[in-house]
Every structure is written in structure tokens, then in C-alpha cells.
């Protein structure tokens, strides 16, 4: 199956080379595309050096818009599976095979979770509390427990590539898209992965934005849970 790794990148020139090197080691044959979200550093040049296809957006769209571009790229080029990986080095390509295996087994989405084996970078206490809250909320709304709904390390099957290429949240998309997928009766699996603290740069969710993040995502998740289903029975 044709597999694409989507790497949304904003100011990640320092982190990308290591990720590219690690991706070379992956035995499975995967293609890569970097979505350069209007970085002002030389993210684009770094990708060129490594011969990695790069889609450079002329305007900064934020993480959601960048990832959606990746899904559009995957749809356009006829990929069967798309895997999202952060450009900041948090996600270890070592686990790519494991994440992909669930899609091969017939799941529509597979999320790499930090909180199944609780190994590696576990994030701060307050962030873990926030993530726990979303796990609980998603369980309440959809009936399925997802231990790491904010994880951006995830693989999607062709059906979800189509869905996400069509519509994708603008910012903080991770928990919301899980609910959208479950709402449309797609099957989601989780596999344990070990994440690393980001190598350099800053997280998009700073302390001042935490309250805004919680409120916005809570609302988005509830809205996704009561949204109209798209393409019923099309599985």
C-alpha cells in the first residue's frame, strides 16, 4: 500500500534533518511530504537538500491548515495511507511500522499514544490533566476511550484521507478529528509509542493560551460529536 508521511513544519529547519535521517532507516517504503507553513527560516532549503518534496504555503495557515494540505496532497497522489508526524522531533520513526500495522489490519485510524505504557516523555502534569479530561470527554461522547487524543502521531486510511482533505479543523485539530472519525463510524486503534521532548523551538500551546485551548477544544469536540455525519454507510 502506498504510504505517505505528512510532516507539518513551521520554523523546523533545525529539527528536520534528524527526522529525515531517521526516516531513511525505516525499512518500509514510505514517501514523505513536508508542508512548510510559511516558515521564515530555511525549512524549505533543508527539505530540498534532502530531496524531500515540500509544499510551501504562501500564507501561514496554522497546524490544521498545514496538515489538511498534506491530506489533499495524499488524495491527489493516490496514497492509501497517510501518517502525520510532527516536524519537531517528538515522534520517533522507529514506531512507524507499529502505527501502520493497525491500518493494515483494517482500522481506519491509528494513534500513537504516550499513555499506554507510560514510557518516555510524558509532558507536564497540567498538560496530562488536560489530556485526561479530553479522554474522559471523548469517552462520554463517543463511548470509546482514547488514551492520548492530543497525539499528532497518527495514521489514516484512504477513507479518512478523503474526509480530512475535505474538511479539517483550523487549529488544535487532534481531539476534534478523533471525534469526527468516531462519529462517522470509523474504527480507531491506539498503539503505545515513546515520545521525546521537542528538540528545539517552542510548543504552539503556551501557558497563556492554555485556558483558551481547553475551552476551544472542549467546544469543538462537543460540536464534532453532534455534527452531521458525512457520507453515511460509505465504509
Amino acid at each position: 500500500m502506498k504510504t505517505l508521511v505528512i510532516i507539518p513544519a513551521y520554523q523546523e529547519a533545525k529539527n528536520l534533518p534528524r527526522l529525515f535521517e531517521e526516516l531513511k532507516e525505516v525499512p518500509r517504503d514510505v514517501d514523505i511530504v513536508v508542508i512548510n507553513d510559511c516558515s521564515t527560516d530555511n525549512t524549505e532549503e533543508v527539505c530540498r537538500q534532502y530531496g524531500v518534496p515540500v509544499v510551501s504555503l504562501p500564507v501561514n495557515l496554522g497546524i490544521g491548515g498545514a496538515v489538511q494540505t498534506g491530506y489533499k496532497y495524499a488524495l491527489e497522489h493516490g496514497y492509501d495511507i497517510a501518517v502525520q508526524m510532527d516536524g519537531d522531533g517528538q515522534h520517533d520513526p522507529k514506531f512507524l511500522k507499529l502505527v501502520l500495522s493497525r491500518i493494515h489490519e483494517g482500522y481506519h485510524m491509528c494513534v500513537g499514544s504516550r499513555f499506554i505504557e507510560n514510557k518516555g516523555y510524558q509532558s507536564s502534569l497540567s498538560r496530562r490533566a488536560g489530556i485526561k479530561f479530553f479522554s474522559w470527554l471523548i469517552k462520554l461522547l463517543t463511548g470509546q476511550y482514547i488514551s492520548d487524543p492530543t497525539s499528532g502521531f497518527r495514521a489514516c486510511s484512504r477513507e479518512l484521507i478523503k474526509l480530512f482533505a475535505n474538511s479539517y479543523p483550523k487549529d488544535y485539530p487532534e481531539p476534534e478529528t478523533i471525534v469526527t472519525a468516531l462519529r462517522n463510524r470509523y474504527r480507531i486503534a491506539e498503539v503505545p509509542v515513546i515520545m521525546r521532548p521537542r528538540q528545539s523551538g517552542e510548543s504552539s500551546i503556551t501557558r497563556n493560551l492554555a485556558a483558551y485551548y481547553m475551552i476551544k477544544v472542549t467546544l469543538a469536540v462537543i460540536m464534532a460529536a453532534i455534527a452531521r455525519r458525512n457520507g453515511d454507510g460509505d465504509k
Partner: protein, 118 residues
């Protein structure tokens, strides 16, 4: 109930008529798109009507049990303003979505173009 003075009435009629003409002219010269100007046209028309027939306000106040007609005026104005702001929010949301799609399309096209050049 206090009646408004004739002078004030004339000033209000001239002012609201001027506002209406100004907006119609903006639409005529295509500086405002008719779609978004509709709420403004409606608003300015109601101002014209209210200044010519302030009795409308007395009537609204009486029907809704509002003690002072001036409060009925505030109610009308706030309602119209909310309507305008809401239509603007709808317009902004739609524009944002369209711009996002365009930006993504441009990015993808640029990538295709570069690959074809090679």
C-alpha cells in the same frame, strides 16, 4: 409624552436621508457589495422611517410596555447593529475558509510545478 421639536426632527430627517443616499451611492459605485450592504440599506431606511414617523417608536414602546420611547429607539438600533455584526461574522467565516482553500491549492500547485520543471 414629550414630543420632539420640529428643528430636531428636520435635522434627523436630513441626517438619516443623507446616510441612506450615501450608502446607496457606495453600492452604485461598487464600493460596497450589495450582498453585504443589504443590512446597511435596511438600517438606514429604518432610520429615515423613524425620523419621519417617530410615532412608530411610541407605538413600539406602548406595545412592548417600554416606559420611555427613547428606550424603544435603543432597542431598534441595538437590534440592527447586532444584525449587521452577525452578517459580518458569517461573511468573515466564509472568507477565511475560501482563503484557506486557495492558499492550500497554491501551495500544491507550486509543488507540482517545481516537480515538472525538473
Amino acid at each position: 409624552m414629550n414630543q420632539i421639536s420640529t428643528v430636531l426632527r428636520i435635522i434627523l430627517i436630513i441626517g438619516s436621508l443623507g446616510f441612506f443616499i450615501f450608502i446607496m451611492n457606495m453600492v452604485r459605485t461598487k464600493k460596497l457589495e450589495l450582498k453585504y450592504a443589504l443590512t446597511w440599506i435596511l438600517t438606514s431606511l429604518s432610520f429615515v422611517l423613524l425620523s419621519i414617523f417617530p410615532e412608530i417608536l411610541y407605538f413600539i414602546a406602548a406595545v412592548m410596555h417600554i416606559e420611555l420611547p427613547v428606550n424603544a429607539l435603543y432597542l431598534c438600533v441595538i437590534f440592527l447593529l447586532l444584525m449587521i455584526v452577525f452578517t459580518l461574522t458569517v461573511a468573515v467565516s466564509r472568507q477565511a475558509l475560501r482563503i484557506k482553500t486557495l492558499v492550500q491549492e497554491i501551495g500544491l500547485l507550486k509543488e507540482t510545478l517545481e516537480r515538472m520543471k525538473k
